[in-house]
Structures are given as C-alpha cells and as structure tokens.
Symmetry: C2
Subunit: 390 residues, 2 copies
C-alpha cells in the first residue's frame, strides 16, 4: 500500500511510523517553504510549485494507492483534481468545509448537533448587532480561516476589548498583503460566538472506513494554555455516561452523515449536562496522541486502516488512566535533543526531530498511570522539567 | 541517541521502528553479502569488508553512542575492539558464550539452572559413550555452532538414525570447505543431549539496564514446525504459578549473574514440574514479537531503553490472551506484498519487506483475543490463509 500524505509535520511522521511496520510506503507533498525534518527518511518528498499539474503531483508522489492530509490548510482545488488519479481521504469537500469556521459551523448545526450560539460577519459589517443577536458579551471572535492554536482569536469580555478588536480589524482591512497571505484569498470574515462558561473541554476521536465501519476512542479531557493543548487525560475524569454517549453520538453522526473516511477529531465544551461542539479536525489530532501507547490501536494506524479500506483496529484504552503531555519548545535552537530524561517505567517519549522555537510542539510524552492522582503527579513533575510556556 | 546495530534483518528493522519515535537514530553493519531490505531507509548501512579496522567501522556507523547486535552470528573479535570506542551491549563475552552450545550450556549449568542431560564430543570422538553417559537413546545431536531454526540438528531415536548421523559426520569431516564456512573455524564439535519427553516449550524474555534494573515479560508458549517457530500464546496457557516463577527466576539469575545489558530470551522445556533451559538468545527474540501490540512496552523499546541506560518500560501484557503467528514464505519471489487481508479488528500486521523464499520469516501477525478459544480460531484461519510450511 502506497500512501501519499499532504504535509510534512509530526502528524505525517506519526502516520508513517504507524504504517511502516505494516509494510506501507509513504511519500509526502511539501509546500514550497515547508520544513521536512519530521518525515526525513520516511519516504520521498515532492515540493509543490505553481507549475505543477495534479498529474505531476500524483506521479511525483510515486502513483500512490491513496492520498490523505495531515492538516486542514491544504490546496483543496488540487485535492479535487487528485481524485481523478486515486482516492483522496478524507474527501476534499469535508476538508473544504472544515477549513472555514462558517462552513464548519453550518455543517455541524445542519446535523442538529449543538454549538455555542454564533453569528458570522464580514469586512466592515457591524459586529455589535451580531453580538446582540447571540445574547451580548462575553464573546469570542475568530477569523473564519487561518485560526489555530489561538491565532486570530479575540476574547471580548468588555467594550474596551471590543474597541481594541475594531482597531485591529480596521488595520487589517487597510493592509493589502493580508489577503494574499490568507487562505481566504477573497474577503475578511469572522465568526462571533457566545463565550460560554464551560466546565471543561473534551475531545472524541473516531474513524470510518469507506464501507461504513466506525470505531471510536474514549473521550479525553484537554487542558490548554494560551490556546495550545498542554495535556490530555483519558478517560475524561468523572464524565457522566450521558456525556460520554453524547460525544459518541456526535462523532458517529458526523462520520456517517458526511460519509467521512479516515480519522476525525471533535473538540467539545462541557457545560453542565450540555455538550457543545467547539471545532472539528479532519485528521489525526493532538488530543489523540495518547492512543499510540494507551490504546490497542493508535489513531495513526486506524487512519491508515480506514483510508486503505482495511478493518479498523480495537480502540480499547489501557487499564488505569492514560495521559498525554505536549513538549513545547522553550527557545530558538537548531538543535533539538530528545529529552530522554523524561522516560520512566510508565512514560513513552515521542519526539519529532524539529528545530526548537518557543511554544512549538517538539514532541509529546504518553503516560500510563494507575489512577488520576498518579497522573497528576507526573504532570506536576513534567511542568517543572518541561514547562508548558516559554 | 545514536545506535549502531550489527545486522540488517527484521530484528534490526523492529528495533529501529521502536526507536524512531523516541528520536533515536540508527546505523547498521552489514556482512558482505547480507540483504538490507528490512532496514532500508531506517538508517545508513556500512558494509563490512576485511580491510576495515574497528575504528573504520565505528566512524562508518557515524560514531554511535552505543552498539548492539540483532544476531548471535557476529564477529566477536570486532565487537571486543569496538568497546574501545563506545559501549557494546550485550557484552561481547556473553554473545561469545552463547554463540557456542557448549559454552552456553556450561554457563547455564554453572548458575545451577537445570538443563536436559548433555555431553560434548568432537571430531571423531565416539558418540556412543556420550550417549550412554546421558542415559541412552533417544537423543538430539546439535553442532555447537551454526545451528538455528532446526539447522545442523539430528534427532536420534534409533541406532539406524545414529548410523545415518555417523555417515553425515564422516562426510563433513572429509569436506575441507566446511570449516571455512563455519563460525567454528577450528574443530568440529557437537552436543548430544537427552531428548526429553517435554510437555511443551515456553520462553521468557527479560531486560536489564547497566544499573541493574530488571524487567520481565510474561512467559509464552511456543509451537514449532520443523524447528521454526510457528506461533506463540501469551500467557502460556495453564502454566502453574510455580513454573511461571521458575522461568522468572532463571532469567533473573542469568541477567544478574552475567551483568547482562539489553534483552535476553530464554527458551525452556516444560516436563511436569520441571523447567529445563533449551537455549538462550542474547537479543530480542521471535517469541517476544507479541510485545509490540500485546505489552505496554515492546521488547524492542525495552532493549533500546536498556542499552541507552534509560528506565525500562512497563512489561504488563494486555487483558485477555495475546498471540503471535509467523508469516513464512511460500515460494521464491522478489515481490513480497504485505498480506493486508490478514488485518482484522484484533490483529496487527508486521511485515519485513523481504524477498520471499519458502520457509523464510517474512512477517508476523500479533493477535489480541478475549480468550484462548478465540485465539485458537484465529490460528486456525491463519493456517489456511498463510500455511506454516510451504
């Protein structure tokens, strides 16, 4: 089985490392300036340039049996053209939908899955009216595209913060270069959503094959710092059976109703007995990295099984509690020595071979613990050894 | 951490695939004619030639932090010289001891660990006397070196079979080329051991760090066909606690008393309440391949942790029963398509990318099952889809 992956980051790395044992071969499509250190040695790399046709890309990738993506920020037009040559999973249309928060929320709402109240506004449209329609401050404003790890997001608790946003918006609209840089390449568009007082964030990860087989992992609880995932705990502590089932129901509907193929991640807010979808990721996801050591089959292997039309593997998690701790860069450095000292009897190091820069995801540690108390102790030591913020 | 591995087979492949996620780098030392397809892409390869000094080998391997082996059949003199440049684990002296069945049995017996009664004989020494000393027929005769997967072994149940062996011995002694081919490079030597009516064969795998930390896996039961391992079942079904403890005691003493570093495998015969050591392997072992999917930490990762002086990982096995089924070549073919059709919800394919030839180990399948009955069913189907003999 030859798999072409669009993107050359750590998700591609972990996909390839999950596929090599099964005899899968990989090739990777890199953007013109994309670093490729994560996947060096794991397959050939094709560097995209504007002169390439889809046929050039397909043959450059070595005529793969299937093409997949490791990120949302991809050229969907190219993916659509690649479908003439081999299956592309997940389908370019679902990637396209999730690329844009407006389309994403429309999709989720259309399936009757609850979201925090939201409105969309464009260019110089008044935001105050939109805010009023969803019940007033506090709100969160997000650009509909190019938002990840807290980028292009504004938390608005007060009219002062709203004024500050308005100034930023005006500056942005006056800049001519931003639209070139942006994937939007058309108009400026934002989502404003009610900032809900949620208790916590959980995520649920599932996979679906072209035949419609579905497998789901146990929901985990995620902790963020400045918009970046710091750690996850699986199973999400004391999550009611009702909420576990809601999460399973949401991902199941999303997979089924969209005819999705591959791994899909859904981030949700828990507010009392309510479960609101925050966002989707049409790919393997950081909050599923625990599955490498903490589940019978990893999200990476299951993504490959799905796109290769093979039966999905058992998703049962290990006894006890599983944790995942992101290892974020502390400083700028071309050197990125794996922190072997973090390895203990119950911890498993995953290192991406990246150059270091502050806040960059350089690796993660999976932790198998007897109980939540033991896991909290591990997180505590890790925060000292490898702080979550630079 | 840079690891140099002597050998380029599937064990090197699986070691590298266990180390890549942790950010380990690999290089491999190949014999002049050794195939390298298993490890292609996983690190640079140095091809040994007679003009090379140990220093050439060390620098060719990229000045590794540690050197290890994936097979017993290695140039021990070279390993000894390499110790001047970096640690070599397991120590060349234990590899040297295990290379030769005479030295191996002397080592095991010296630790007071039971073996089947045995004698050694050389060249044209009369074998009848040795046989008489261990209690007469039936016996098994094995060359002290170059024996693996049933090669250079003779099962002697009758005087006719003994005569046949004597003819083979005479022919061998008259051949001038055999000693050049053989690792013995000196004299012909055989072990004769009492062929015991054992109930079954189990193996136990353990690891030790330079600091003396020890971790052991649950003993599994092994089934062979024509001297080649066909499948393993973990835990060994209905093995008494007493025998489990004996196996743990044996490997623990072997690891401790020899100051061993890395993974060691011990194959044992079970005869009633007796546990007799059959042979040792100073490396990761086929009967431990189940650990990739069936244990919290694989034997490959634990071997790397041990030789890198890192804490050993949890060796607990998965709930239920774990199985391993070897995928042996059916025919000669340069093509070796991974048999994806063997993948199911509870099975995990490991494919080595070798050319196929009859009886060759091309891959293995790990199986996670609820119980022994379910596992037997899986083995049964596998025997039809991928027969153990060509």
């Amino acid at each position: 089985m030859k798999v072409g992956i669009v993107g050359c980051g750590q998700l591609s790395r972990m996909l390839a490392l999950a596929g090599w044992p099964m005899g899968f071969r990989f090739s990777f499509l890199a953007d013109p300036d994309e670093p490729v250190r994560c996947i060096e040695g794991l397959g050939s790399v094709v560097r995209l340039d504007t002169t390439m046709t889809a046929g050039d890309v397909f043959s450059g990738l070595g005529n793969p049996d299937v093409i997949t993506v490791e990120r949302e920020s991809v050229n969907v037009a190219l993916l659509r053209q690649l479908k003439a040559f081999c299956p592309v999973y997940p389908d370019p249309e679902i990637v396209w939908a999730i690329q844009n928060r407006h389309r994403e929320k429309t999709l989720v709402a259309g399936l009757g899955i609850p979201l925090s109240p939201w409105e969309v506004f464009r260019e110089r449209e008044p935001v105050q009216e939109a805010i009023a329609r969803i019940g007033g401050l506090p709100v969160v404003i997000k650009s509909t595209e190019d938002g990840y790890d807290g980028h292009n997001q504004w938390i608005i608790d007060s009219s002062e913060q709203l004024e500050a946003f308005e100034k930023e918006r005006e500056a942005l609209l006056e800049r001519k270069d931003w639209l070139q840089e942006s994937a939007t390449k058309g108009i400026h568009e934002w989502i404003v959503e009610k900032k809900i007082a949620f208790d916590r964030e959980i995520s649920v990860i599932g996979a679906r094959t072209p035949d419609g087989d579905i497998a789901m992992y146990t929901s985990g609880e995620n902790h963020h710092d400045k918009g970046i995932l710091v750690h996850s705990v699986i199973p999400a502590p004391d999550l009611s059976e009702q909420l576990h089932n809601k999460a399973r129901d949401y991902i199941c509907r999303l997979l089924q109703e969209t005819g999705y193929v591959g791994v899909l991640a859904v981030e949700c807010f828990v507010a009392g007995n309510e479960l609101l979808v925050n966002e989707l990721a049409p790919r393997v996801h950081n909050s599923g990295h625990w599955t490498i050591d903490g589940a019978a089959t990893s999200q990476f292997e299951n993504h490959l099984r799905a796109i290769a039309s093979l039966p999905l593997g058992n998703t049962a998690h290990q006894d006890g509690v599983v944790g995942m701790y992101n290892l974020l860069g502390q400083k700028h450095s071309d050197d990125s020595q794996a922190p072997d000292q973090l390895i203990t009897k119950g911890t498993y190091l995953h290192w991406y071979n990246k150059t270091s820069r502050p806040g960059r995801k350089l690796g993660h540690l999976n932790i198998l613990a007897e109980n939540e108390e033991e896991l909290s102790g591990s997180f505590e030591s890790l925060r000292n050894l490898f702080p979550p913020s630079a």
